[in-house]
Symmetry: C3
Subunit: 464 residues, 3 copies
């Protein structure tokens, strides 16, 4: 690929304009406010208590704070987590921003099409906003695998297909099979991870070592990444509980996730010191593995997992995640030719599978005795004749379906992205912002220049 | 101006102390808790269900999450957005902090005085907190125009006048004319922008090129700025919906703003690649223009704009904002002598006017058919005899009034700030923290020093 | 201590694993979901309005947004506030993360044991989550005193004891004495500060000047610290109001804290310019003293302090905090051998005591006239025969008890931490990440290296 191939002057504007115009047209034809958002129903008055009451029961007040937390995870969390690379911060945050802004619109249509049409219209409100952000999260997970090696156009094209397949998989699981997966261990994390891993496998670059020196962090870039890590960690309880049933299930999901993450952080620090060079902690582990407890609580979080059960799950997630970074990732890269920039297999892949298994087991063990009147909130199908062990089996089958669709989808999309028209960087220009961004000069350079000037003067003096 | 002119040892303490003491006295005389905040009404008990119920209906629970999002926009959003300058990060975040802390207190008094006195008292609660933060936002917009060229005392004095004029303008629009402007396309953005532009015009510095080399970003300062950008972007739906009527109107406003911003981001990336050097993306555009969709949805956001209508508005806002940065800002600077450091004309000025126009048109087209029972929540005056086209005209007149007050106010305040007693930096010291802040040595310098030492040794060896 | 003493390969994993396994076992035996979290009670259905109603009254919706704000303060606020040190950012954010994740689990048990057992079980939900985060905050305050001078194992051991003593003190004050301290001026800030100060006194290092050059900030580290500062500042109203009674008391507490902080920021800027070198602002003051208004409103925030009363309290807190940084800290270090890295005495110690005194006075002046029906929400014991002046005395006694337990506890824990088996850094390695972390190479170094290469070439040319 030549330098000009990566020039985005026409390619990117055309892609963005066409996509947005299509989105606007489809929204115009298909999308309507839902009954809590449209103007016909609620109407709030400070003085009229009965109508105020109905205004106060608007879903907005019971979902929107969770939505905002999820929104922060998507844009700050994912965006800054990926800024750890020394010269790819603009692209990490900036492309994250672009593909998220596109994906949430496209996801609204795809998810609405597959499981939300009423009277030929897609109804939108705070719940569709959360679901669209969830689907976007899946795309951003895949982005982590190909980070530094793809053009923004490749990323937008990946998003088009991945959002669509996400909606299909989600439809099969949640709507057809009645799978429980409120926090998306399967639909979001497992799907996004294995899709992304397959894409990066297909896009394998044998000569990526040409830009190896840029595929690492510097001191301040690791601190920027910690902003992403901590926002993901803090708001994960909101993520897993954002679309559960209201009341105790939502409350419990947040609580379980909180304990899972706390325990995961403990095992992550332990494993990092145990496995890393000289007993020193490795920022890569802290930035990533400490989050695995959130991923692993994504399916069973709404169930009666108990606080200590949640802690065990989080603890295990941290252990396998650090082990993955230390031992599995190098093998995947050397043997299977999977170049996984952010290690999404360790943060989203394996912990997602763990979460799915925990969810299947917890479902299989569910009894009405334990759940009481809340049983039908968590397992509505079990009220209607399905047995717990059937539900457990369906959860397990759902994991297999998710893996299948993700891998097959990633395979096809990977080959599409291989087409040499999307402006991917060449092997020596990976992990480098200046391919796609105007990068400012460094302040430090001026110091160097002054030094160089001094040096030259000195030399001249010596010379004379 | 001499070096001593910028010394703040006495000027700043005296200014701050006098202002705060006046504030405390006026608060003591004039301000009371409102009926949801004072102790006489609500009282929550975990066990007493009827009184709990009334405690649960406290406005706090329906406004405070929005308030906190707005608060983050004011302090982190505006503060960090302006850290893009390489040597002005302390001042950007720090002066933003100072003038915001002052303005929100002063705004509580001014807004309370003009449209909130009950029984001779200003009643405060979560709604007054949000409104004070809104007014503060307007001051911070103006700060963007003069960033790097003003002393903290000038900024405090600007805030005193701007907050007052903001409250006057808001009173004329919202209370007298019945203008709808929940998210402040006119009252906040248009007002703040044109006020600030006029101030910076009066403070025109013909020799500002003396500090031109500091009027630019470095790599990490652009990443800090993206923290500001993303928090503004994520929480703008909360901003526009923070003071709407409860229920569907608030829900809808958040939703419309979310779509407007997503579409705006798409058009911003497209236009940035199209117009910038070599087809590369320009961080200035991404940091600023991607937010124009929030500004432009500030008036019509609560109306039945429809999701696709919101997307069109956001899309256009992004386009005009990037075009403004690329083509209009240089003209404003050269021909009209408007030195607009942050390009507020492109982010707040033009998109604010666009938002006002969209609001006027959407109002003029409003019918009870479309809005149903919610009509009176969005257009209370239309219930009482005013026609939609009258409302549209009033919206348009309100834009003109806002522009008039902003420009005239900025003119007068600009001349006041020109008085040579406020410690403004001289032309060669603009965009430089070390005028007003103790700036630590750079870690990198030690490297340089070591290098310099090595170099000297080498030279000495050669010399001998 | 030798280099190997600080090696964490076995010590840290063993400590973390043992602690987490103990936590999991104790949680398994002792902890249960509370009645708003367990499955037996609430059950939300979109369609069934009566059960929806009960689901909507779940504590989750009235506490969780406050919890998330507090959570951000603990992990981002405290974590980033301490990143001001030039080479200790990984440890500041990273150890903050580790000890917070441990402490919140341990605090759940300790607080539950001392004041929450029902039927032999500790009941958990959103309220226990907030309380655990509060207790964690206290540990993080103490961390600020010893920052840069302790190993992660020392910090974990400190947390074990401090959390326990915190729970004891809280039990004595809140449960036995009926002390009011919703925002924790005493229980959190005074306790954490004096405990930490005593620990750092016992751990006094006479030769700490060996690493003095690293005990300072650089430009970008000060900006990272401002992220912490601003999140603490913005969310402090949520912190102080997080566990008050619902309704007006919660609303009022947030409002009072908001005004206290705004006034504190004004006096901080004034005092910083007045006392600092050359009339320039000092980042240390801005980062810390501007928060003292939140600390000082921690006890009286829920009372009828009035907005102007809150402003006076915040104003004074800012003044004493800056004076403490400027004049008292050097004395404490030289005369009392208290090496207080972050100056917690100035941010948490003195303002905490101020807050306790303000709380005692405000309690002593409380009358049913002023509080109306809300009297019993703020002062339940005054409904049952206690007089206001008695309540005031109890508040004052509570301060003395808190100081006593904190100082005695810190003394004992300090001696425990002195045992030479926990891997503390030696005097020359303090304030240095690379002792415990793998630190990446600096990008800037490559510039230097290139320069060095050029220089060598030049020299060689000259030489030949």
């Amino acid at each position: 690929m030549t330098e000009t191939a990566t020039n985005m002057r026409l390619k990117l504007p055309i892609t963005c304009f066409i996509l947005e115009i299509i989105l606007i047209i489809l929204f115009g034809v298909l999308v309507e406010y839902d009954h809590d958002t449209g103007a016909s129903k609620d109407h709030g008055h400070g003085n009229n208590s009965s109508s105020t009451h109905s205004a106060y029961e608007n879903e907005f007040y019971y979902r929107y704070p969770s939505f905002q937390d999820v929104h922060v995870m998507i844009f700050i969390g994912f965006g800054f987590l990926m800024t750890f690379l020394q010269r790819y911060g603009f692209s990490s945050v900036g492309f994250n921003f672009l593909i998220a802004a596109f994906s949430l619109q496209w996801a609204t249509l795809m998810q609405g099409f597959f499981h939300g049409m009423k009277g030929g219209k897609i109804h939108v409100g705070v719940l569709s906003m959360i679901n669209a952000d969830f689907c976007t999260g899946s795309v951003l997970i895949s982005f982590g695998a190909v980070l530094g090696k793809t053009s923004p156009i490749q990323l937008l094209i990946m998003a088009i297909f991945e959002v669509t397949l996400f909606a299909v998989n989600e439809y099969i699981l949640v709507t057809i099979l009645g799978t429980r997966d409120a926090g998306g261990s399967m639909t979001i994390h497992t799907f996004g991870a294995y899709f992304g891993l397959m894409v990066t496998r297909i896009l394998y670059r044998p000569h990526l070592d040409k830009s190896k020196h840029k595929n690492s962090s510097v001191y301040h870039s690791d601190l920027f990444a910690m902003i992403g890590t901590l926002y993901l960690w803090m708001f994960w309880p909101s993520f897993n509980s954002a679309i559960t049933e209201h009341g105790a299930p939502q409350h419990r999901t947040a609580l379980n996730t909180y304990y899972s993450l706390a325990a995961c952080t403990m095992s992550t620090y332990a494993m990092s010191a145990l496995t890393a060079h000289d007993g020193k902690l490795d920022m890569v582990h802290i930035q990533n593995a400490a989050l695995a407890g959130g991923v692993a609580a994504g399916t069973a979080g709404e169930m009666m997992l108990t606080p200590s059960g949640s802690m065990i799950v989080g603890f295990l997630a941290g252990v396998i995640s650090v082990l993955g970074f230390k031992y599995l990732s190098p093998i995947l890269e050397e043997k299977l030719k999977i170049q996984d920039t952010c290690g999404i297999h360790n943060l989203h892949g394996m912990p997602g599978v763990l979460g799915a298994i925990v969810g299947a087991v917890t479902s299989a063990l569910a009894t009405k005795d334990v759940y009481g009147e809340g049983f039908k909130d968590v397992f509505p199908d079990l009220e209607e004749g399905r047995t717990s062990s059937m539900q457990g089996s369906i959860q397990a089958i759902s994991l297999a379906i998710t893996l299948g669709i993700a891998l097959l989808g990633g395979l096809i999309v990977g080959f599409i992205l291989k087409l040499p028209v999307f402006g991917a960087p060449d092997d020596a220009s990976c992990f480098e912002d200046s391919i796609y961004w105007e990068v400012p000069g460094e302040e430090e350079k001026s110091h160097d220049n002054e030094l160089a000037a001094v040096m030259t003067e000195e030399s001249e003096k010596l010379n004379s």
